[in-house]
């Protein structure tokens, strides 16, 4: 009788310890499905964001640079003898400007000959307009 009472007294504690030691309850199926859904959707959002930003920013990231030597349509400022020729200048971040690296410009005389029109100079590599705010 005493032995049975001892067993009854001890058993709940042992059972509780055994429960703590035993493996955790299996993860419910719905939790597993939701976890998989979350993982896949977060991956999709991350990759989709990359694709979307790449596509959206394409025109801004690759500005149509005018190559040196290309002819530009001339704005009608009187009768010019020839179209303005674009000439190259060094990139702005190529160091201190020197006499050799100074932008070569060409003066276009006006038809009357006593007045010079402004010259056109295009940098060799037009710096992309990437500011911190545009990032």
């Amino acid at each position: 009788m005493d032995e049975r009472q001892d067993l009854q007294r001890v058993e709940p504690n042992e059972r509780r310890r055994g429960q703590q030691r035993s493996a955790r309850r299996p993860v419910p199926r719905s939790a597993r499905e939701l976890k998989a859904l979350l993982a896949v959707s977060s991956l999709a959002v991350t990759l989709g964001g990359w694709v979307g930003l790449s596509l959206l920013d394409q025109p801004a990231s690759a500005p149509a640079a005018t190559p040196p030597g290309a002819t530009l349509p001339v704005v009608e400022i009187g009768a010019l003898p020839s179209p303005v020729v674009v000439q190259a200048s060094p990139t702005p971040d190529s160091g201190a400007p020197s006499a050799a690296a100074s932008p070569a410009t060409r003066s276009v005389p006006s038809p009357s000959g006593n007045q010079q029109l402004p010259t056109v100079t295009v940098p060799r590599q037009a710096p992309a307009a990437r500011t911190r705010s545009s990032r």
């Binding site: 979350l38 959002v45 930003l53 920013d57 990437r130």
Partner: protein, 240 residues
Amino acid sequence: MKRTEHFAEQRDAEAPPPLRPLLVTFAAAIAGEAVGLALVPVLLPGLARSFLGPEPKGFWYLARSSGVTAYVALWLATLLGLLLSTKMARRWLGASVALELHRFTSLLAIVLAGFHMLVLLGDRWVGYTVEQLLVPFASSQYRPVWVGLGQLAFYGLILVFASFWIRPWIGTRGWRTIHYGSFGLFALATVHGIGAGTDVGGLLPLYEVAGFTVLWGLFLRLLPHLSGGGIAARPAVERD
């Protein structure tokens, strides 16, 4: 029966989660990234080009998208934690499901935030070094204060996540104290997103909704305490 279920749920909440699924998740993440790196240049040459050239922008784009995704995961983790502590999770999702999702979204937020940081190493425009990425407020290139707050939030998130495993050593009170800090790190992450994010213009509604829902959940959590009932240390046992 309800009492037995409750004890089982409570035991699950207190027991440290198994390590194997965590290792499997990390291994799967690394394997997925390796496969992606191998396949993307072949399947999507246009996108692969965003990583080439003198000033590749692909790293910046990935940092932005993963940062936003990490923030959403952190938001979900915080909400699920609030649902668990206010017993609403038991009604809607079931406590064990909510607990699993709470831990998983926390892990997801850490993985995505870590990726968000690491991928910035490839961006030459900001030009971060490893030291600048790891040490809060060590950078000066780009909005250093806001970036530093994000770094603090990342380390706080790791600490809160680790508290699941070190709970047997720090005790329930220590675990709870660390968990209360998660609201602070959520606020830090929100401030980081608004201050350092360049997408804040379009994403401001996200930050507003996230902040409002977490504040509302926190209010519901504190309501019993405010009304004089005190915050129950543990969910009350339902009577049979």
